[in-house]
Symmetry: D2
């Protein structure tokens, strides 16, 4: 299982009545099939997985699987707070045809969670999982950071194939890479550090931004692969700005808004995430029309 | 609805096979009925609510309701990440006979959540809820703090009757009390600050420690009510130590261990929360045998 | 040495040319002598000690000593980053007639500072100091918190008589009081928690707010001493608001502005601390004119 | 003034009696002259500037200037808490022949410091300084982070030539580089991210690690300059480990210990920084003997 390349952390589109738009899930994925993306992450943080109930989550997984081209790698977010529920979700994803489980850290009982907690949790999940496990550290949402020592320990497990580190710390990527086997796959979740992450040895990236600007994210990856370092650097600086204006400043609502502008099923996130205010929409529109002149307001 | 007094944030006992012990839920509550506790909080943070699936959560709510004496106030934890799911859970609790809904803040999408997010979320929940809503701010677990300004804004809603603030910040309690109507009920979640919280105007407390040491928590409340300030101070200092050794240092596992020692259904928490190590058990045992000589190791 | 009561952490007035106003130092202290304050802290955080060079600091210490009534306790802030410089400053303060040295934690090399660092530092200072040492933990400025275990360890030193804890954590005060000898004097630095701090066993308070509203701070202390708990509670709630509007929202500039309004030598702080903007001044003025109608704008 | 290359943030050696070793300062610099370092930073964080009094600081500056080869760029750390003292120190450094002033952010009054505070502070310093100013953001010690917007604003000042960002955030470097003029010089302070920092456009690095391992740091820079990306990546991973074991885990004491082993004047840091414990020394020795077999214990 080779995770090289760019994966979008797919958004989940909602219909105007607030229900999940299964049609939207499928149509988005069909359109992405032409962009050079390596596969799809379904039910990640950007997918509002924590906003969906069990039936909704299952429906999204099934729809995405149905729509995805068989050449694309399918990764399901399956992390829950309890070990047992994480295993339940992981098995369900495997039974639906997903190839990799992306398992975020438990995070509610922070004061009680120690490195050993995560080591035991991930080992239990990986032991029980029919599919390979990708660790997932996303401190911006969870308040929990997997640090290099526990990642290195876990990299010895035969069913743990890598990590998505969304901390945007290139230093931590280096610390991980200094200790894991060469086939342990490190992916970054930070669109603003894709190029430096690849430069220090990451395999690829799982990005919210790749919902909105898949072509540019893929282009950056290809420039790096081709050894075009100066062009990669310049595109990275452009994506630093894009990531800030779309993702950092506006979150999922910003990503979905750009998707809508570009013809994808975007829409609003689910409450309590608030829809974008009009002035935010105008600011984004003004910005992305520089990148895609066809999107410029008339 | 008068929330004066001490409420335990009930633990959820698990059977040896890992399933919820419905018998344990009921027997614990029946024993608590003799202790002077004002009521019970079911499915709070200490109740491992985030570890339970929907069916388990419903079963615990039903069992606790069945076992509770009708004079005791029943409060259900019903907060979920999405507004819609929070409303679903709140209505379910109401239909099961719960009198108050304790609604923790949403917390996953921290960078996107602003005061206005919480105000809109709580208003929507309170509008839809058949029972009064108690705000719940528990930054140690969620990384989110409700601050005085948004609490004061929300205190104007007729179906929001108070807040459980688990931050242990007596300063914040003062800031809240300086701005809310006099019938808005402020409860602390910090066993180490019950007396100073009462002194500045809190009505009571919802405590993990009250699972383990209900009599002492209730006694502290009564001393305060009777104006016995010096005795209250001395007991509070004792409970600072108890809270540190049992709750802060050992979490839910520590609370459950002391419960077991005292004849309640304690047991281990659910994974990834790890069971107490033997030396931790010995340290707690050695400590609590000072408080309850009958528990001293032979 | 009994530190019961309220001490202002004195501001340092500057002349229009930016130099220290020695006249202002003296006149402020002379006016405070009528207010019931127990003494004065010179060169604390509110005194902009870190903004003064050696000659300026010496001049302020000398002027304050000269102006202070002999019945008032004189405390000098003498903490520096290095142990040796802290000792130098402490000896200088003692030689100038100060009775207590308030020694803030070192804080620059945070990643290297451990509890043992502070224990060794304070022991060395206390061993060398001709006057008693008061520990000083002020995390809002230093990023360093002295925790109860190291404070309890240090409380055994015969020349360490207490601590000023400015964290506003009443819980920590309880943790300290649970472990120190009964003659170890705990003072709070948080005007918003004076009453609850006294309730759990603090001796007094060292307050920025006491520069601006000394009478009210002293009154709160007296109400507590007289066992007038409900009146103390009400005044405390009033001071929560005062502390927020003057100190928390406006810092030293806010304190100095209120001092100026009340006839003390206030003035602006030293750059890079910026002077108050006009709208902030109006907001404070509008607020404090409720407390002191004579200060209301015409 | 071209700051391309590697600069050590020089340590300050102390004699056994605790005084500054002026001989050590000079001899260290003379030895560094053969290593390919681009120049020297004197009185930075690693130089224990906050531990030195005025006379000691002046003596170190003078000694370093005297010993340095005229081709090397001399940078003096001149930041103080107050704007006026920062200007005094900057002028003194200029008068002693220093070419650039490295000015760390003020940091004590954190709650009062806003982006505008830093903008006004740095403009005042740069206006008054006879030599170019390098901004210095070092949150690990100060708790203050200069963010891209204020850095971009300040980059317009003709006497502010760049920034040393010690946050190790490659993302922030990208955000800075996306907004500053192309001649604004960005240097990283993080030895673990030198290569990715250069890859996104940094000019060079100012490193504590370059005291201990100057040759390796310089080699990394040269590999990057020569477009040898894979070799640079491999050496960077090696330096991630070195930086962790020497600097992150052991601080200035670790850097000085390795210096001593390699024949420089290292010694202990000044108290309250504690000397390395024996087991830490053995761990470092064991590690660096892999890098420099001649240092292996017999």
């Amino acid at each position: 299982m080779n995770l090289s390349g760019i994966f979008p952390a797919l958004t989940t589109p909602f219909a105007p009545d607030g229900s999940v738009s299964i049609l939207g899930v499928k149509e988005n994925i069909r359109r992405y099939s032409t962009t050079g993306l390596a596969g799809y992450v379904v039910l990640g943080s950007t997918g509002e997985a924590v906003m969906l109930n069990r039936e909704e989550a299952d429906a999204v997984l099934a729809a995405a699987k149905e729509a995805a081209h068989p050449d694309k790698i399918l990764i399901a977010g399956t992390g829950a707070e309890s070990t047992v529920e994480t295993i339940v979700r992981t098995k369900r994803a495997a039974s639906l045809g997903y190839q990799v489980a992306l398992v975020k850290t438990p995070y509610y009982y922070k004061p009680a969670y120690r490195p050993d907690t995560f080591i035991q949790h991930y080992r239990a999940v990986a032991d029980a999982s029919p599919i390979p496990v990708l660790l997932y550290s996303v401190p911006i949402f969870t308040g929990i950071t997997l640090e290099a020592p526990e990642i290195i320990t876990l990299s010895a497990h035969p069913n743990i194939i890598g990590i998505k580190d969304s901390s945007a710390s290139v230093q931590r990527l280096g610390e991980i890479l200094a200790g894991v086997p060469s086939d342990f796959q490190v992916l970054t979740g930070g669109a603003a550090v894709v190029y430096p992450a690849l430069a220090v040895g990451a395999r690829g990236a799982i990005l919210a931004l790749a919902n909105a600007l898949p072509e540019k994210c893929v282009e950056l990856f290809h420039l790096f692969q081709q050894g075009k370092h100066e062009e990669a650097r310049q595109l990275q600086i452009q994506l630093v700005e894009a990531s800030k204006r779309i993702v950092s400043e506006n979150g999922i609502a910003g990503v979905k808004f750009v998707m809508s502008q570009r013809g994808y099923h975007g829409g609003d996130p689910r409450l309590p995430l608030l829809p974008l205010k009009e002035e935010k929409k105008q600011a984004i529109l003004s910005y992305i029309s520089q990148l895609y002149p066809s999107l410029a307001p008339a």
